[in-house]
């Protein structure tokens, strides 16, 4: 987290820093480039202007000299002196007048140009008489710059007319250091005069304006002729140089103007250094500001990050702690609002998750949690805790008759009443549509029953809903820990089982009895195991013969299902069949039984025995619309005639939902099946119904047969039933005949067949086969 913040900081810093540097650098470069160029340009321009000025100055000087010369040669006195023809006179006139006008140089030439007389200085400079004038025209007025004695001379030649040209006067001024300095000062440059010699340029004169370094004269020799300002290095110093070749010198004399760029660039360098300084300081300040800003930004971000983590962890109570006016403050404010909203929402959801919406009571989960805690507390403290599961028995009827809203009102009222009865330490939860869990810690198990009763009685008073008076009927199951259970789950389950028992027995309160849990669990496992047993042939059919009393032959057997459970061993059929019925799995069982029986019957027929197999069906089978198809399909599958199977059904099963049962049985008989009513005499069928009973056979319940003796009421009843059945065209079978006396008596009473241990117990097919074989050998041939 710190690293990411730092990288944001760094990025901000880098960005600001980068921007500053860029901006500064751009300014810097731009300014310096322009300045640099500017300095050079300015210097070049200065040189150009100076060149103009120098040319101008020299020209004007020449004109001035010419003017002086004109004046001089117009002077009659001068002309007389010249006209005297006397060398000395002429020389003295020359000297005198030359010095008068300040000319260093005065030479009198013949009209042909030859020098005749010269002033002292001229003689000195020329080391003798100066050379003849090149231009031969005596009338010519000439400006020229000549080289004389290693120095440049600015010279004017004018004709001396008296009245015709008698001579030519040359007046001149040396371009010496004085002149150079004057020029240098006026143009603020270094000025040098240079003479061209065979070996190059020679600069005898150079001057700079005061204070400026004067470049070594020898270095100047390497300066090229440059009409444009050129940059050269003179003695390792950069100079901008311009030369002006004096046209009237025939290209032999030039003026060199130079400006040290080092000096010119002085202010440029100063500015550059200042700019660097400014850039660096701006950079530094910028970075500092950026760092400060980044910190100012990243701190609230970090704070918000921590706040977010807190929220993630479920901690909603700590505010962000940022109070600011700006966007960050607004963000923090929104954050806090979000926090509180999430907190509230979570609380609501949690509440909803833990509470029943209708009654507001804790729901099952929460109820179980509380029970958990109560159990743990009780066990720690060595106390007891009692769990009550209270159910509203008649809720479904109430909803069916009065509507769901009434049902909800009832439940709500029950919740209220029950809550009112709770002590501080008690807790109540709605754990089902119609059931509540009440946890009573610290109650002595012996007192629990009475306590529960008290609660229920107080609560089950009538209530009025929508002008209807409703009386709830409550049952309670009770279990205590320790004693009935050791954990919350066990406690609740067993209290629930106790409730079931209470409902079954009609008691208001029932305490859990030991073993019920196991018993119920066993029952559940049996149901599960039964399905497996059907699939995996753990079931087996035994066959008990129905022996005819008339000829002793066996024409039918009853199929009885037997189950050898891999764990529990032999399973009593009463148990698992009734479990199958009550768990709704009986048709699976019945299908299997029918199929097996049919198969066996087919096998016997193939072996030559025509034996009908009677299978027991349950009331549920009777109510199945598809029963007839199931039976006929089974017969078809095994290619059996329809009288190969006999359908046995108990009398009480018929009585239940009699109409449907009768219809089904009728259809079965229409298809040719034979129907046998089992356990006849114990059901609640009326004699009137008997008339309509679509049956072919009645089986008298064994209760009537056991210990039957002649002349007893049992014998009477049996006889009556036999005659009744015969009268209605049914055959009669008696079950449970075990002794000879019973058999004799019953046979004498007229029963058609006898089934019982006297003859045989139920046998496996192979054993039955053997028994039949054995019997056949003892019986006379069938008629």
């Amino acid at each position: 987290m710190a690293r990411s913040v730092r990288s944001f900081r760094w990025r901000l810093l880098l960005m600001v820093g980068g921007l500053t540097v860029l901006a500064q650098a751009a300014t810097f470069m731009g300014v310096l480039t322009v300045l640099g160029k500017d300095v050079r340009t300015a210097t070049a321009e200065q040189l150009d202007a100076a060149a103009e000025q120098v040319s101008d100055t020299l020209r004007r000087r020449a004109e001035a000299i010419g003017g002086s010369a004109d004046v001089l040669v117009a002077d009659f006195g001068f002309r007389s002196a010249i006209g005297s023809g006397d060398r000395e006179t002429v020389r003295s006139a020359l000297e005198n007048n030359a010095s008068r006008i300040g000319a260093d140089y005065a030479v009198l030439h013949s009209p042909g140009g030859r020098a005749i007389v010269a002033t002292e200085r001229a003689l000195e400079a020329a080391q003798g008489l100066p050379p003849a004038l090149i231009d031969g025209d005596p009338e010519a007025r000439v400006h020229a710059v000549t080289t004389l004695g290693g120095l440049p001379w600015q010279r004017v030649v004018v004709p001396v007319r008296a009245p015709t040209t008698i001579a030519r006067l040359a007046l001149g001024f040396g371009l010496d250091e004085r002149i150079a300095r004057g020029l240098a000062e006026s143009v603020n440059l270094q000025v040098s005069f240079g003479l061209r010699r065979d070996d190059g340029w020679h600069h005898p004169v150079t001057a700079g304006n005061d204070g400026e370094a004067v470049v070594d004269i020898r270095a100047l020799a390497r300066v090229p002729d440059a009409a444009d300002a050129t940059e050269v290095m003179l003695a390792n110093v950069p100079f901008l140089v311009r030369t002006v070749t004096l046209a009237d010198s025939g290209g032999t004399v030039r003026v060199v103007l130079q400006r040290s760029l080092a000096d010119a660039l002085g202010p440029y360098y100063t500015l550059r250094d200042q700019l660097i300084l400014i850039t660096l300081s701006t950079l530094l300040i910028g970075m500092l500001v950026a760092a400060w800003m980044a910190h100012g930004l990243s701190r609230p971000l970090t704070t918000l990050g921590e706040a977010a983590r807190r929220i993630e962890g479920g901690q909603y109570d700590i505010p962000t702690g940022i109070e600011r006016d700006d966007e960050i403050g607004a963000l923090a404010h929104a954050f806090d609002a979000m926090r509180t909203t999430i907190s509230e929402r979570e609380a609501r959801i949690t509440h909803l998750a833990m509470h029943d919406e209708l009654t507001g009571l804790p729901n099952q989960r929460m109820g179980m949690e509380r029970l958990d805690r109560a159990v743990a507390t009780a066990r720690r403290g060595g106390q007891a805790v009692v769990a009550l599961v209270i159910g509203v028995d008649n809720l479904s009827p109430i909803v069916d008759t009065l509507g769901r809203s009434v049902g909800e009102a009832v439940v709500t009222e029950m919740a209220v009443r029950l809550s009112d009865r709770m002590r501080e330490s008690d807790s109540i939860a709605r754990i089902g549509d119609d059931s509540f869990l009440v946890v009573l810690p610290g109650v002595a198990p012996l007192a629990a029953d009475a306590l529960a009763r008290g609660i229920v009685e107080a609560v089950c008073k009538p209530l009025v809903v929508d002008d209807a008076t409703v009386t709830p009927s409550l049952s309670t199951g009770l279990a205590a820990c320790p004693g009935d259970a050791d954990s919350a789950q066990e406690l609740v389950r067993r209290a629930g089982i106790a409730l079931t028992d209470a409902r079954d027995t009609g008691a208001v309160v029932a305490t859990y009895t030991e073993g019920r849990d196991e018993a119920m669990r066993r029952q559940l496992s049996i149901v599960a195991d039964l399905k497996r047993a059907v699939d995996q042939d753990e079931l087996v059919l035994h066959y008990q013969p129905k022996v005819s009393t008339s000829d002793g032959r066996v024409r039918a057997v009853e199929a009885l299902v037997r189950w050898i459970h891999p764990v529990h061993g032999f399973m009593p059929p009463d148990e698992f069949i009734s479990l199958a019925e009550s768990s709704g799995n009986v048709s699976m069982l019945s299908d299997w039984v029918m199929d097996r029986a049919a198969r066996q019957s087919a096998e016997w027929r193939r072996g030559g025995r025509q034996i009908a197999v009677a299978v027991n069906l349950s009331a549920l089978d009777l109510r199945d619309e598809r029963l007839v198809e199931r039976v006929t399909h089974t017969l078809q599958r095994h290619a059996l005639p329809c009288d190969a199977l006999v359908i046995e059904i108990t009398e009480s099963a018929v009585v239940e939902d009699a109409e449907l049962a009768l219809r089904t049985l009728t259809r079965l008989r229409e298809h040719g099946m034979r129907v046998s009513i089992d356990d006849f005499g114990t059901g609640q069928s009326s004699l009137a119904k008997l008339r309509d009973l679509p049956a072919d056979e009645l089986k008298i319940d064994r209760a009537f047969v056991t210990d039957i003796r002649a002349g007893t009421a049992d014998a009477m009843i049996v006889q009556a039933i036999i005659e009744l059945g015969h009268g209605l065209n049914m055959t009669i079978v008696t079950e449970g005949v075990e002794t000879l006396e019973e058999q004799t008596l019953i046979a004498s009473l007229g029963a058609d067949s006898i089934q019982g241990y006297f003859h045989s117990r139920p046998l496996l097919p192979d054993l039955l086969g053997e028994w039949l074989d054995q019997r056949d050998t003892t019986l006379p041939e069938a008629a």
Partner: protein, 220 residues
């Protein structure tokens, strides 16, 4: 006829050829007719021809000549006189003139005021006298002072005549402001003969034709 030619300081190149024709004259004296032309054959005025016949002769006493100053010009511009002639400068102009010459030994100067007659200047020595005006640079005149009585100046048509020439072979000098001096000879065979000659005058570019007072200085 004699025309004054006001010559500015510049002149073009031209050749002057003189054609002299000899024209017959009386028994004692021959006559020389000269036709002066330049080297293009054009008639040339203001050429002074002097014949050296006999010894130098000074002009008789009282010989006068005049060079006037009119319209800031010397009139005539070129005049020949014999040595000893007194030349007067009347100054008919309405301005002052300060006439001078540095032509030694005939150098002089004279301030001429309007209306105020001045003394004549006598030229004792032969030679060309260049006349200038100190006030007016453009005024240039020439006096060719010869010490022979036999001289004449060519007119506008380039002709001149000299009478009374003795017979014999004589030196003939021609001077023109632009051409300078040249010398030739003439033969007078018979008295009374008229000799005609043509003389060519060729101007020299340099040095200038005018007598240069500094000549002596040029020499070295």
């Amino acid at each position: 006829m004699r025309n004054m030619i006001a010559r500015p300081s510049s002149f073009g190149r031209f050749a002057i050829a003189m054609l002299a024709t000899l024209v017959g004259g009386d028994a004692f004296a021959a006559r020389l007719d000269v036709n002066v032309i330049d080297d293009h054959g054009r008639p040339t005025a203001d050429a002074v021809v002097s014949v050296i016949a006999g010894a130098s002769a000074r002009a008789p006493e009282g010989t006068r000549a005049t060079i006037d100053q009119r319209d800031r010009r010397f009139m005539p511009g070129v005049m020949a006189v014999q040595t000893g002639t007194a030349v007067s400068f009347p100054n008919s102009d309405d301005v002052r003139h300060h006439v001078y010459s540095f032509s030694r030994p005939n150098d002089f100067q004279i301030k001429l005021y309007h209306g105020k007659p001045s003394d004549p200047v006598t030229f004792e020595h032969s030679g060309v006298v260049s006349l200038g005006c100190n006030i007016h640079d453009g005024m240039v005149g020439f006096i060719s002072v010869v010490d022979t009585p036999f001289f004449a100046t060519s007119g506008a048509d380039g002709t001149l005549s000299i009478d009374g020439l003795p017979t014999g072979r004589h030196e003939l000098d021609i001077w023109h402001p632009d051409a300078g001096w040249s010398r030739t000879t003439v033969l007078i065979g018979n008295a009374g003969e008229t000799v005609q000659r043509s003389l060519v005058v060729t101007p020299k570019p340099a040095p200038p034709a005018a007598a240069n007072p500094l000549q002596s200085l040029f020499a070295d």
